[in-house]
């Protein structure tokens, strides 16, 4: 228990978390602090490229094995199944309509790449290695949840639809293309490639992540401030409960697949996190009747801060206890 508290404590006072807290506090206090849209997008491109590239380099060093394929399948399964579970829990805990519940469920089946990046940063700080291909697992988990959510709506008599072009947009979403593309470049060029650009993608990484999380804090804080009265206690409870359920399933699957301690933690984080970039855009096209204030506030305003501050150390501690690592 002391170990968990100490891990949570040191995580809370890291520059990454404090930057997020600063952004959230500034937004809640109605400060005029803002990060320009172009800067935020630039930092997002940098982080995706760096994390994808480093993942590819790790795969080039260790090679491809059966665990990689099994991990990808586990990620796909998680993304398809988690929305069904989230939908059932939402229908019990909240009074959300089937359409709103399905839209929220899609977010919880998909992933937050920033939470993933923060978790890799925590693992690196503790000298815990993880499989580089977990980046690829993150990429395959982005889209299937959207299909599950649309199926849930259709089953409930709603009008969720996959119109022509939507699947292409989801699968060729900029963040997926960049993540997978950078992963491929890293895998092809290996350690030599990394050496050539490490001054750009390794050293400044944590500093950029801090600024990016400052922006995430500002967006989350603004969302919370503007969504007063939109969310009930049941919905907020769901946004904390669901990551823990997801992480427990991720823990089981990670052990089943045979991942290392670091890999298990990353799978737990992926299963626990909720999308706030790719899925909201898809939901606006496929489920326009769903209220964006509900799903964005839950995923970005509640689950994201929870995972960042308490979730990641909790998942790491749980994985260490269960695996004896």
């Amino acid at each position: 228990m002391n170990e968990i508290l100490s891990l949570a404590g040191s995580n809370l006072v890291s520059p990454i978390i404090l930057s997020f807290a600063l952004g959230m506090a500034a937004a809640l206090a109605r400060s005029d602090l803002t990060i320009p849209e172009a800067v935020a997008k630039g930092m997002s491109i940098y982080l995706l490229f760096a994390i994808g590239f480093k993942g590819g380099v790790a795969v080039s060093a260790h090679g491809v094995d059966a665990t990689l394929i099994m991990s990808l399948v586990a990620g796909l399964l998680l993304s398809f199944i988690m929305p069904l579970l989230a939908f059932a829990i939402l229908r019990v805990l909240t009074g959300l309509t089937a359409t709103d519940a399905a839209a929220v469920a899609a977010h919880y089946g998909s992933i937050s790449i920033v939470t993933f990046v923060a978790a890799t940063s925590v693992l690196q700080g503790r000298m815990i290695d993880a499989e580089g291909y977990m980046v690829a697992v993150a990429a395959v988990m982005e889209a299937p949840a959207i299909l599950s959510a649309l199926w849930l709506v259709a089953r409930s008599g709603g009008s969720g639809r996959i119109e022509p072009g939507l699947m292409r947009e989801i699968l060729l979403n900029g963040s997926i293309v960049l993540l997978v593309g950078a992963f491929a470049i890293g895998a092809i060029t290996g350690e030599k490639g990394l050496e050539e650009i490490s001054a750009f993608i390794v050293s400044p990484f944590k500093g950029v992540l801090c600024l990016f999380l400052l922006d995430m804090g500002l967006i989350a804080g603004r969302g919370l401030r503007q969504s007063k009265g939109v969310l009930g206690a049941g919905a907020v409870g769901f946004a904390v409960l669901m990551p823990m359920i997801g992480s427990a399933i991720g823990l089981g699957l990670g052990m089943l697949v045979g991942l290392s301690l670091g890999g298990i933690v990353l799978l737990m984080v992926l299963a626990a996190s909720a999308s706030y970039i790719a899925v909201p855009a898809a939901m606006r096209v496929a489920l326009p009747e769903a209220n964006p204030a509900i799903y964005l506030t839950l995923s970005l305003g509640v689950t994201f801060p929870f995972n960042l501050t308490l979730g990641i150390p909790l998942y790491l501690a749980a994985a260490q206890i269960v695996t004896g690592g």
């Binding site: 803002t34 990060i35 320009p36 849209e37 935020a40 997008k41 930092m43 997002s44 072009g165 922006d215 500002l218 967006i219 603004r222 503007q226 969504s227 706030y276 970039i277 790719a278 909201p280 855009a281 898809a282 606006r284 096209v285 326009p288 009747e289 209220n291 964006p292 204030a293």
Partner: protein, 102 residues
């Protein structure tokens, strides 16, 4: 200077719908329009701002200037896309130079 009567149609719509609206307008033969980024705003769905966004969040504004007799075709095409979505469609009378361009 001689001016000509035209209609100015402004459609503010969610950014993820941009491509779909552009395609619907093109299909309806409306090939002249301008797309503008919208900084932020407030409406029935609450306040929002473009600041700091990394996804395809926010809104865009389509501005079309057309001959009055083409207005119904444009609105029919736009309505198929904007029907269920957050946004605003407004029409105002306008005067343009060089009528042959509209």
């Amino acid at each position: 200077m001689e001016t000509h009567i035209a209609k100015r149609v402004e459609i503010v719509i969610e950014a993820p719908l941009e491509r779909r609206l552009a395609e619907a307008l093109n299909t309806a033969g409306v090939t002249g329009y301008t797309i503008l980024p919208v900084l932020g705003g407030s409406g029935r769905s609450g306040k929002w701002s473009r600041e700091g966004q990394v996804g395809r969040a926010g809104m865009v504004a389509f501005v079309c200037l057309i001959r009055p007799d083409r207005l119904d075709g444009l609105l029919d095409a736009a309505f198929t896309v904007v029907d269920k979505h957050i946004g605003v469609v407004s029409i105002t009378d306008a005067q343009v130079l060089r009528a042959e361009r509209f």
